[in-house]
């Protein structure tokens, strides 16, 4: 399936890499669990070195804006 036509806006390599089960509720649930673990880790990691500094700027989704250098 070569992308010869202009309608193929998605980069070919993304589809080649994998078929992402976007609609699979189990896959999404598993992903959400993993992401929750990752977010927990990142929040704790940020709070650690600076140790009890100001609380972070967080968005509605819990994204941390003022990330320091990792």
């Amino acid at each position: 399936m070569d992308c010869h036509n202009e309608e193929c806006s998605r980069p070919q390599e993304e589809e080649d890499i994998m078929d992402i089960p976007l609609d699979d509720p189990e896959a999404n649930r598993a992903a959400a669990k993993i992401q929750a673990g990752f977010r927990g880790h990142m929040t704790r990691k940020k709070l650690k070195p600076e140790d009890k500094t100001e609380g972070e700027e967080v968005s509605i989704t819990g994204d941390v804006f003022n990330r320091s250098v990792v």
Binding site: A36, H41, V70
Partner: protein
């Protein structure tokens, strides 16, 4: 985009997981409930020791940037994470009574209101352990050699579940990919769980 094949192949990941934590993901539901009904926080029995409560109060206080002994709804998830929990954003939203986006930014909760929420998360039967994370990532281990492509992982993290931003993903993946762009996911999970 038209899927080349059925998106059923990765489903096997949920079944063979004899994880220590109850494998809630193994239950094949037709679709996840959209916005779960709000929880009755007053029914939750808070079972923390005095020492724990003091620790939690201290963490809570760090997030209070207004000085009213409260924190905003949109800080709750991070306070819980700071205290060692890994709630999904959906779990927190549910605990907060499914607030609007405006509410998330403007409404505040005091420490006593926060405690039952924290208790609920701590009591949650869905908590993932090492095996859960490894099993989840193993799905993408095409060659069965203990690694996943960093690029694949990035795509999954940004398109599935509770999508992560590029900045979040970069922060997460820093130093995790080898020279071939591959991630040893067991080591990765150990690293994640070490903090």
């Amino acid at each position: 985009m038209a899927p080349k094949k059925d998106a059923k192949a990765p489903a096997k990941k949920a079944e063979p997981a004899p994880a220590p934590a109850p494998a809630a993901a193994a239950a094949p539901e037709p679709a996840p409930a959209p916005a779960a009904p709000a929880i009755d926080l007053s029914a939750i029995k808070v079972e923390f020791s005095a020492d724990q409560i003091e620790d939690y109060r201290e963490a809570f206080g760090l997030f209070d940037r207004v000085g009213d002994n409260k924190v905003a709804f949109n800080q709750i998830a991070d306070i819980m994470r700071a205290l060692g929990q890994n709630p999904t954003n959906k779990e927190v939203t549910k605990l907060l009574g499914n607030p609007s986006a405006d509410d998330m930014a403007s409404k505040r909760v005091e420490f006593e209101g926060f405690l039952p929420m924290l208790q609920a998360i701590i009591n949650s039967p869905n908590k993932a352990g090492f095996e859960d994370y490894v099993e989840g990532l193993r799905v993408f281990d095409k060659e069965g050699n203990g690694t996943v492509m960093g690029a694949e992982l990035r795509i999954v993290l940004s398109t599935l579940g509770e999508k992560m931003t590029e900045a979040e993903i970069d922060a997460l993946m820093t130093g995790q990919e080898d020279e071939n762009g591959c991630v040893n996911y067991e080591a990765f999970v150990k690293h994640i769980m070490s903090v």
